[in-house]
Assembly symmetry: C2
Homo-oligomer: 206 residues x 2
């Protein structure tokens, strides 16, 4: 694989410009979100990022590698979430989900659900990413149980489905004209969602 | 608009075959789900439904009208949900959502989130459908409040986001090979989800 992320040393030559890396990542996700795999190519990504096509070919030898790196860099990293409390971790997770589905990567994220399984070279990478994300999210809940923040019998699946799904649904049903405001206030809505759900698991069954 | 649904009288000639109507609806949603609006046309829909193209043109004068009718007939009708109890209504709603996102219309439903806003003639219809569905879902919660099944201060938005989103997320994160089993047991999972969420709103805040 050519370049895993902007954290990889740039090798000989000039150090990489992180602003250019971010532009390439967003341009790749934009083109994939708008046109799908059928319309994904070096040319439109370079045009959208405002760079020469040669710059892309210097770093990525195929469009699979370019999209793989853009997904790795541009989609949420649940494995990095560890604030020290379950409440803090869940707010961070919900904030990331709202940002993803109300923000500039929304179309790319939806497109992955539709197309990832049928794109050679992307299916495996996306499958691994999704498995790792689900495992990291389940670890967040298990750490909360270990710290006695919620009861041991809590359904990890129901809590995660309603948290991540509730954030996603809220973003998708927000009219496009109001999504920028939702993204700006994502953490506030995430806190309301987490308070609502933790109340479900923290009180004994009736 | 040519034919709003199979409930519309067929006019002169032979009465319609509801089996053919269902095949056309599913074929139209399959083609839209797989190929998007760019690949949606009378020809592939007729081929997939196993009927002649002339049969489609007799009833629909444009592909917009065909897709509009397929969406009306094939997507969940939340406005028809009224079991008499909040619990029953929410289980029905969650079962519909699981069936939609784990079943044969999953790709068409995801494709609508991606493309509907930019398809002339579909954007308005989809916008009206979605507004009506959200209003019908909110009515379900309000009837539950009127019947004293949940407290008056319940957040309608949080309860609906977590219910519909939790069902959607569960379906989307279920591996393709296990989706048929999930669809078959959708009502059972829907009940677990509803019990989990109603517990959140039925107990006083701590």
């Amino acid at each position: 694989m050519a370049a895993m992320s902007s954290a990889t040393p740039a090798g000989p030559g000039r150090p990489r410009d992180p602003g250019v890396d971010r532009r390439i990542t967003q341009a790749a996700l934009d083109v994939f979100g708008d046109a799908g795999w059928a319309g994904f190519a070096m040319e439109p990504v370079a045009r959208r990022a405002g760079i020469g096509k040669a710059t892309l070919y210097l770093r990525w030898s195929s469009k699979q590698e370019l999209l793989t790196d853009a997904l790795t860099a541009g989609l949420p990293r649940i494995s990095d979430v560890d604030t020290g409390t379950l409440h803090g971790d869940l707010v961070e997770l919900a904030t990331q989900m709202i940002g993803l589905y109300a923000g500039p990567c929304s179309k790319a994220a939806l497109r992955l659900h539709l197309e990832a399984a049928s794109i050679a070279g992307i299916a495996e990478h996306y499958g691994r990413m999704r498995t790792a994300q689900i495992a990291a999210a389940r670890d967040i809940i298990r750490r909360g149980i270990t710290r006695d923040e919620i009861p041991g019998g809590t359904s990890v699946t129901l809590l995660l489905d309603t948290l991540a799904g509730g954030a996603m649904m809220h973003a998708l049903t927000t009219p496009p004209a109001e999504r920028a405001a939702l993204t700006a206030g994502a953490a506030g809505h995430a806190r309301e969602l987490v308070d609502f759900l933790l109340h479900a698991v923290a009180t004994p069954a009736h």
